[in-house]
């Protein structure tokens, strides 16, 4: 089978690229291991809603999401959105097609799949970041009696063994799961490392409205001071709820969630926690204050109803693991590319790229954190990246043709 471009992945990134390719008149296919929006179907807990409000979530060429512009879509609504989007321009999605390998050929690339090979002249990797959970090695040292659940596999509190739960990680996933378990009456301990605290709203507007207006989300990969850090920054401590409430360590602590430092070891049946919690809480408060200062400066006003500093809980450096029935790993996830030439990857197995342009001409990646801009991995942020990379790709096809 021949086509000009193979897009791997039928989520928001692959579909946004497909829309731009369609518009440019470039023939292509979108290979999807399951069906459109597979990760949104199988890897989300039931209560999950987008962190970004509806007004932001516009895909290329698509109308507004509709509904309350300040509301937050649930995962099934996102699936419907992506399904409708794919149909709206007849995206050439090949469902249930798993990529087995991508190889360079004289004429371009050969993409091997479980449905046969595709020959093409450009490849776009749009497989997202959730191939596997990032679980610390010490998980293997926890006793067999302890249920272990990764955030990608978490669905609802009833799935978690009755009793006290240790949630590890305090980005959006960790705080949301800790909050839901606590509201379900569980005793919850939350192990906290580096995190990004932001209020849901400030001065009456959603924090994303402000970040959008300040240009924070449009910061470019080649402008940001420490790109490596920006790319691995934990997700914002946010939850999308109808009442637009803030969810941070202060609110969790007030609700009775026990906060500890990072889980750093297991010894003699005890979980060991880092003594660095105070600094992470302070750093989170300071970083939040800097963002709110920028908003105040932007509107030319003084601080208004600022969230208070996170109270420092009693120091806990170790806990008996026997008191827990389950551990939830909200320690992040990572992509895997066993089907890519290893020389396209760095030592950690991540794709080497410059703003989405990979080391091999004709290969592109999008949908990763800070691919091109801070908004790159947001549903609403992948469109502009797709446009820019599609432009580069079309030029590449033109060059390849004139050289042939």
């Amino acid at each position: 089978m021949h086509t000009s471009v193979v897009v791997i992945g039928g989520g928001q990134a692959g579909l946004a690229m497909s829309w731009w390719l369609t518009r440019a008149g470039v023939d292509h296919v979108v290979l999807e291991r399951g069906v459109v929006g597979q990760s949104w179907r199988e890897r989300r807990w039931h209560s999950l809603r987008l962190l970004t409000p509806n007004w932001m979530n516009r895909l290329p060429g698509a109308p507004d999401v509709g509904g309350d512009p300040d509301g937050y879509l649930g995962a099934t609504a996102v699936v419907d959105l992506l399904d409708g989007y794919a149909r709206s321009f007849a995206a050439p999605v090949r469902p249930h097609t798993t990529v087995l390998g991508v190889r360079q050929t004289v004429a371009g690339f050969r993409v091997d799949t479980d449905g046969g090979p595709w020959r093409c002249r450009a490849v776009v990797v749009a497989t997202g970041t959730e191939a596997e959970s990032r679980i610390p090695a010490l998980a293997a040292e926890l006793g067999g009696d302890l249920q272990q659940v990764a955030a990608l596999g978490y669905r609802e509190p009833d799935q978690v063994a009755p009793g006290a739960v240790l949630v590890v990680g305090a980005s959006a996933s960790g705080v949301q799961i800790a909050d839901e378990l606590r509201r379900a009456g569980r005793s919850v301990t939350l192990a906290v490392g580096d995190h990004v605290r932001v209020p849901r709203t400030y001065r009456g507007r959603d924090i994303y409205r402000w970040m959008d207006e300040l240009g924070v989300l449009d910061e470019r990969y080649d402008e940001v001071e420490d790109l490596a850090r920006a790319r691995r920054l934990p997700s914002l401590q946010l939850v999308g709820t109808p009442e637009r409430r803030s969810l941070d360590l202060a609110t969790l602590s007030a609700a009775g969630v026990q906060l500890t430092g990072r889980l750093v070891g297991v010894a003699r049946g005890r979980a060991l926690f880092s003594g660095s919690l105070a600094n992470f809480l302070k750093a989170g408060d300071l970083k939040q204050a800097r963002l709110l200062d920028r908003i105040d400066a932007h509107v030319g006003g003084g601080p208004v109803d600022r969230p208070g500093p996170t109270p420092l809980p009693a120091a806990v450096t170790e806990l008996d693991l026997a008191r827990f029935s389950a551990v939830v790993w909200a320690t992040g996830h990572r992509p895997r590319y066993p089907w890519l030439d290893p020389c396209l990857l760095d030592r950690r197995g991540a794709i080497r790229h410059e703003g989405g342009i990979m080391g091999r001409p004709g290969m592109y990646v999008l949908g990763l954190p800070f691919t091109r801009r801070r908004r790159s991995n947001l549903l609403a942020g992948v469109g502009p990246d797709a446009e820019a990379l599609c432009g580069h790709l079309v030029e590449h096809l033109g060059r390849a043709r004139s050289a042939a």
């Binding site: 660095s276 300071l286 800097r290």
Partner: protein
């Protein structure tokens, strides 16, 4: 985005060299492997003398410009002769030294001129642990507190952020707050 020109500051830290090293070592992880060394001799009683002279790193052996000697002893209230600080106090010195170096480096990188930096480090220690008087009391500290007084061309929030970032990048802070595997053997 507008570019804000950082004011020229001089805290005596060669930040360009540090940033250059970071970039170079990211690509050469072998060269980033250092080994620190201290050599200790028992003198008498609880008094010992530790000399610090050489270390390895960047694929080579190195020596300090001069050797340093750290006496270790216990005070008279411990029925010792007090020839020097207790090793626990030396740990506090290490923490303060590490955090303060970090503050100077981060300040320079952020364009903050320091005028004075001082710190008091205190550790709470229930010595029933080391005396074996109560098996429920640990040998080490219950907690450590560091209090900085910093005079700098920066807002209070910026100074606090400086101190926070210094902790995030401090070796001794990490050593004290996280477990480290230690093996002790007899040659």
């Amino acid at each position: 985005m507008s570019t804000v020109e950082s004011p020229v500051v001089d805290n005596g830290v060669n930040v360009e060299a540090l940033l250059g090293a970071r970039q170079a070592l990211a690509e050469a992880p072998e060269a980033a492997q250092f080994r620190w060394r201290a050599r200790c001799e028992w003198v008498n009683g609880t008094h010992s003398r530790t000399t610090i002279h050489d270390f390895s790193g960047l694929g080579a052996e190195h020596t300090h410009k001069s050797s340093s000697v750290i006496e270790g002893d216990h005070p008279e209230v411990f029925a010792s002769e007090d020839h020097g600080p207790t090793p626990t106090e030396t740990v506090l010195a290490a923490l303060a030294g590490c955090l303060t170096a970090g503050i100077a480096a981060v300040a320079t990188n952020r364009g903050i001129q320091l005028r004075s930096v001082s710190a008091v480090v205190e550790a709470d220690h229930d010595i029933r642990g080391i005396l074996g008087a109560d098996p429920d009391v640990r040998n080490g500290f219950d907690g450590v507190r560091v209090r900085y007084e910093i005079d700098a061309d920066a807002s209070r929030a910026d100074v606090e952020a400086l101190v926070a970032q210094s902790q995030k990048r401090s070796a001794v802070f990490d050593i004290l707050t996280n477990p480290t595997a230690v093996t002790v053997e007899v040659a």
